[in-house]
């Protein structure tokens, strides 16, 4: 394993002060200079003096309750707590005096008198701050006789002790043992300050004070707890402990790596014992997450060792045969022979690849290189096609780059957050926590979403405006916002004159000022009261630093690209671009969807978003790869499937993506796959797509390989191998073996060599090396000669394309319309505990929170259809039908229903249509006209599908 630089991971006790004014003081005779507002405890820690403490930790504000961190200050009375006392110029602090020693020992005696002394069998043995502090203060004796305790199950006369509370094991990942609690409040404060859920409290008072989740009768599971793990991490004792630590023991080493779930890209310490992963702990120097995590990254890694994982390559002649386990060599031979034969028979263009947004940049780069340099066509696409391809198009057209403009730290300075078609509380939880923290400090939230999502209101904040629009009317709303800004002259003329093209602005102004775009005019269309729209527009334009965060609710529409352009226009109109606290930020879905787009996964673009038709770009790669590159763009995923049905596309290498479940119109996808002659699936599990595959390459998890992921803020984070691949090879090695079986002759021995090739060929990555990432922790592209340290903020002095471009955004209603047969609009989304198609999270304990997809329906719509809460209902569209259970709720408006797509049993995408974005083909998942009716159980399609899946997943017994 390679050595890398680990920044100081010590606990400084209180958060860092951001003041620019410096103060010098003396601690134990040493001079120290720190920012004003720093606590004495932190100042001491800066020079290596650890003042004993229990209730302080540097992720949360000082509390001053444990009375262990007392110090003496010359010329001041008493013994103030060093955590709550800020530094002052010239003071002389003593952290260790006779008096302090005696006081601390007295305090520890009281703590220990009500604590079980079962250290040797305690899960926190060796990792317990109470234990450490008893040692630090020299506790040798406890004079108090523990008559009343919280930890004995029975009192001295054998009666049950009413003060003893049993363990709460309701959460699948951690345990709450009240008998070990010292009521330091760290968990409660972490839940409030770090996570922002406020699920915990101290119930009772005095001797009866207990940490408690939710209301009186709640457990951790039934409370508001979202299982982010912040409380567990904050707990100084064994009171809140990961069950994995209880099962395994304490870890002995840790490796810093990057979470493989969403586009936030949190840094974690993978804490190991031997090659067993004991726990994942968010890394406090991670620049995306700043020490925070969510239930998925923190706990839901069990899929990596799940029994469903396939560890041997498998092949079969037809998809009706059972799988046959074979050696790697045989699988490669089989796959290469088939692919070559297909290309010989049907031509060069008859095969292609789908790159994975879950794999590393290096792996993605190799897969697109496989099709361009080995298959010799441009038939490569990626799941970004079905999520953020309109972002690429829209931001590329207006600003000149297809990526978010800010880093996540920027949210700390935003005054107005406009969240459109995104539910960060469920899909990007760590970012949501950071946003909520800012909202609690007084920033305002404008939410544009058909549904009253978890973001609409929460502990200590409520959205200033919730524009609950009808699905499919984003463009009308965004244009109406611009109409208000333009007609009420709230735009920033200076910014527009200096940074944008004034003539284009004139044209755009003429367009939006038309009364037909006014909030009043579109009210009938969008269902949003005009006054709300006007209020929101005024707030966005005049409320200070305004930042836009958007998600798939913007892009997955027939006018996805138009909405992205409209969003870009809003930011340009108001000058909210190019500094901290503002910007346009797509919340990317997958851990490396940004990276997979950067790496040239799209059929028309070589790495770095450069069109394949440009000869000078092709020349770079032709020189590096030694082959001629096809100048014609290749097929997009929907085109590949159409071509397959037509009979001209016959072979597919699909890495780490489950197109059958995730892509729209499942029946069409199934028909396309079934028509192919060689489908190679490279995945951890026999996913739904694998039901139609002929070759299965087992994949490796993110724990088993080196590489990099690029998150939504363009941050290139290191992924480090913490254990050997269970099936023998990292995914990039498998792709290389397959390419070589096809005759490529690649010779990479480490992903860093692939990154060298990327840097050499791609200007925005020119300065990226593994050494630089190791040294800096992470790098935000563009990273090149102009920005050797990377680029946290884009478009600071001017847009990448030169002048910002205003483009008209005419609203065109989608062809998917409600009518008498299909009167309701279905929109889809995610839930916190499950991830995307659920291939990973369904194989973890996260299913306790969400074990099936549920249809949300408004009470009015339910009543007219005779549907009660919990009933099975049939959900039918023009494309197909499925059944699932209904939940009656007013989170959705009348006329709108909502569900998630995490479970293959439901296959919500059987219902979605093949309408798509006009510019990029991104499917219109978010709007489908449907009808709902009571049902008795699974639909015919679901039963047929299950039967086919069971049949297709058979693996022949070894002979």
């Amino acid at each position: 394993m390679k050595d890398f630089i680990i920044p100081d991971d010590r606990d400084f006790g209180t958060p860092a002060s951001k003041s620019k004014t410096m103060v010098t003081l003396s601690i134990d005779g040493f001079e120290v200079t720190v920012p004003e507002g720093t606590s004495i405890m932190r100042a001491a820690a800066e020079i290596g003096i650890s003042v004993p403490k229990l209730c302080a930790t540097d992720s949360i504000d000082a509390f001053g309750s444990c009375r262990l961190c007392l110090v003496e200050i010359e010329g001041r009375n008493g013994t103030p707590a060093s955590c709550t006392t800020p530094v002052a110029a010239g003071i002389k602090v003593h952290t260790q005096t006779g008096k302090l020693k005696q006081l601390r020992r007295g305090v520890m005696e009281l703590y220990i008198s009500d604590h079980p002394l079962d250290c040797l069998t305690c899960a926190a043995n060796g990792d317990c701050e109470l234990q450490d502090m008893a040692g630090a203060v020299g506790l040798r004796d406890v004079r108090y006789d523990a008559v009343d305790t919280h930890f004995r199950t029975k009192n001295t006369s054998g009666e049950a002790n009413p003060q003893w509370l049993p363990k709460d094991d309701s959460n699948p990942y951690f345990s709450y043992d009240p008998s070990k609690c010292i009521v330091c409040n760290r968990c409660v404060r972490a839940c409030e300050e770090v996570q922002g859920t406020f699920a915990l409290t101290i119930s009772g008072r005095g001797w009866d004070s207990r940490v408690h989740a939710g209301l009186k009768d709640d457990t951790f599971l039934s409370s508001d707890c979202v299982s982010c793990g912040a409380c567990v991490q904050a707990c100084p004792t064994a009171t809140l402990t990961e069950k994995s630590v209880i099962d395994i023991g304490t870890p002995d080493r840790s490796i810093i790596t990057t979470c493989a779930y969403c586009g936030v890209g949190c840094s974690f310490k993978a804490e190991m014992r031997g090659d067993e992963l004991v726990r994942m702990v968010p890394y406090k120097h991670g620049k995306a997450n700043r020490g925070h995590s969510c239930v998925k990254g923190r706990f839901a890694y069990g899929y990596a060792t799940h029994q469903d994982r396939i560890l041997n390559p498998m092949i079969r002649d037809t998809i009706n045969d059972p799988w046959r386990e074979v050696s790697w060599a045989e699988a490669m031979e089989f796959a290469a022979t088939r692919m070559k034969a297909i290309q010989e028979k049907y031509g060069r263009q008859s095969v292609g690849v789908i790159t994975s947004s879950r794999c590393t940049n290096e792996e993605t780069y190799l897969v697109q290189k496989l099709t361009r340099a080995v298959f010799r066509n441009n038939n490569t696409d990626t799941c970004a096609r079905v999520c953020h391809s309109p972002t690429g198009y829209g931001l590329g057209q207006t600003y000149g780059t297809s990526a978010g403009t800010q880093d996540f730290d920027s949210v700390e300075e935003c005054d107005v957050a406009l969240v459109i078609g995104a539910n960060p509380a469920s899909a990007h939880p760590v970012f949501a926590s950071r946003l909520k923290k800012r909202l609690r400090q007084g920033a305002k939230l404008i939410l544009v979403d058909p549904r009253r999502t978890e973001m609409a209101e929460g502990a200590h904040y409520r959205a200033a405006h919730h524009l609950a629009l009808k699905p499919g009317t984003n463009v009308a709303i965004v244009t109406a916002l611009a109409h208000v800004i333009v007609t009420e002259k709230l735009y920033n003329e200076e910014f527009i004159r200096t940074r944008c093209d004034w003539d284009e602005f004139q044209d755009y102004m003429e367009f939006v000022a038309d009364p037909k775009h006014s909030p009043e005019a579109v009210e009938m269309l969008t269902g949003v009261p005009a006054a709300e729209v006007r209020g929101a527009a005024r707030l966005y334009a005049t409320g200070g630093n305004a930042a836009i965060y958007y998600g798939l609710g913007v892009t997955e529409h027939s006018q996805g690209s138009t909405t992205v352009i409209g969003i870009a226009n809003l930011a340009m109109l108001t000058g909210n671009i190019g500094r901290r606290g503002v910007g346009v930020n797509p919340l990317r879905g997958q851990n490396n969807v940004q990276g997979s787009c950067d790496m040239g996964s799209f059929p028309h673009e070589l790495p770095g978003y450069r069109h394949v038709k440009l000869p000078e770009v092709r020349a770079i790669f032709e020189k590096a790869w030694g082959v001629e590159i096809d100048p014609e763009p290749g097929l997009r995923i929907p085109n590949m499937l159409d071509a397959a049905v037509d009979g001209s596309f016959k072979g597919l290498y699909c890495q780490g993506e489950d197109i059958l479940q995730s892509d729209p119109d499942t029946k069409h996808v199934a028909a396309g796959l079934a028509a192919m002659e060689c489908v190679i699936v490279h995945d951890l599990f026999l996913n739904e797509t694998a039901n139609y595959a002929h070759v299965f390459f087992p994949g490796s998890s993110f724990l088993e390989k080196d590489g990099t992921f690029t998150n939504a803020e363009r941050r290139i984070n290191m992924v480090r191998k913490v254990m050997a691949p269970k099936q023998g090879y990292a995914d990039w090695e498998v792709t290389q073996m397959f390419a070589n079986a096809m005759g490529a002759g690649w010779t990479y021995t480490h992903p860093s060599q692939i990154m060298e090739e990327i840097a050499m060929t791609t200007p925005s990555f020119a300065g990226v090396t593994y050494d630089k990432i190791e040294e800096m922790g992470s790098v935000q592209w563009p990273c090149n000669e102009k920005a050797p340290e990377g680029t946290p903020l884009m478009h600071v002095d001017g847009f990448v394309r030169g002048k910002g471009k205003f483009i008209r955004t005419e609203y065109v209603a989608t062809d998917e319309k409600t009518g008498p047969r299909f009167p309701l609009l279905l929109t889809t989304g995610r839930i916190l505990s499950q991830y995307n198609v659920g291939a990973q999270t369904r194989r973890t304990h996260n299913t306790v929170w969400h074990d099936q997809d549920i249809l949300e329906i408004h009470p009015h719509d339910a009543e007219t259809r005779g549907i009660r809460d919990g009933d099975w209902v049939r959900l039918a569209s023009r494309s197909g039908e499925t059944t699932l259970k209904a939940e009656i709720t007013d989170r959705v408006s009348p006329g709108v229903v909502y569900t998630t797509f995490h479970h293959p049993e439901t296959q919500a995408n059987v219902v979605t249509t093949d309408f798509s974005d006009w510019a990029t083909n991104c499917p219109e998942y978010k709007v489908t006209a449907v009808q709902i009716m009571p049902s008795n159980g699974p639909s015919e399609w679901q039963e047929e599908y299950q039967a086919q899946a069971t049949l297709a997943r058979r693996i022949a017994a070894a002979e």
Binding site: T197, S203, G204, G214, K216, D224, E457, A459, H460, R462
Partner: protein, 156 residues
């Protein structure tokens, strides 16, 4: 008789509306609810939490901090006996035992006929007249067995 939940919620919503715009409204709201129902029904807490953009845990934390907010209705009369130092030195423990025996209940319990709820209290500020008690908000000083018995008769 258990309260009808929809009736509770509609009264709670009225109370919430009465406190609109008030700064630091949680305690006044809890007092008003207790005034209305004689206790604070658990069903009211999530409604209060949502209205005030607080979490359910926070409301529970506040309510459980104050012993005077009841989860269950009390008896027709509430007898509070002081348990603080001055009263203890003047025989409060003896008074407590006497009261518990007389009514046949422990602390925080209500007599079977629903007449009296017995509660400890820590200092009524009546130390000069210790041991002290409070009956339905009325202070009683210089308690002894005879006076307690008289009180008990009065409370029947």
């Amino acid at each position: 008789m258990p309260l009808d939940e929809s009736a509770v919620l509609s009264r709670v919503n009225e109370i919430l509306a009465e406190h609109n715009g008030m700064e630091g409204p949680l305690l006044p709201i809890l007092h008003a609810i207790q005034e209305s129902f004689g206790h604070v029904p658990q069903a009211a807490l999530p409604v209060i939490a949502q209205h005030l953009t607080l979490s359910r845990a926070e409301v529970h934390g506040v309510m459980s901090f104050y012993h005077d907010f009841r989860e269950q209705p009390a008896g027709r009369h509430v007898l509070k006996l002081c348990r603080a130092e001055a009263c203890q030195s003047m025989g409060a423990d003896r008074m407590a035992e006497h009261a518990q025996r007389r009514f046949g209940i422990e602390w925080h319990e209500t007599t079977k006929d629903g007449a009296v709820t017995l509660e400890p209290v820590f200092c009524l500020g009546l130390c000069a007249c210790a041991p002290a008690a409070m009956v339905d908000g009325r202070l009683v000083g210089r308690l002894d067995e005879a006076r307690l018995d008289a009180l008990a008769e009065e409370l029947r």
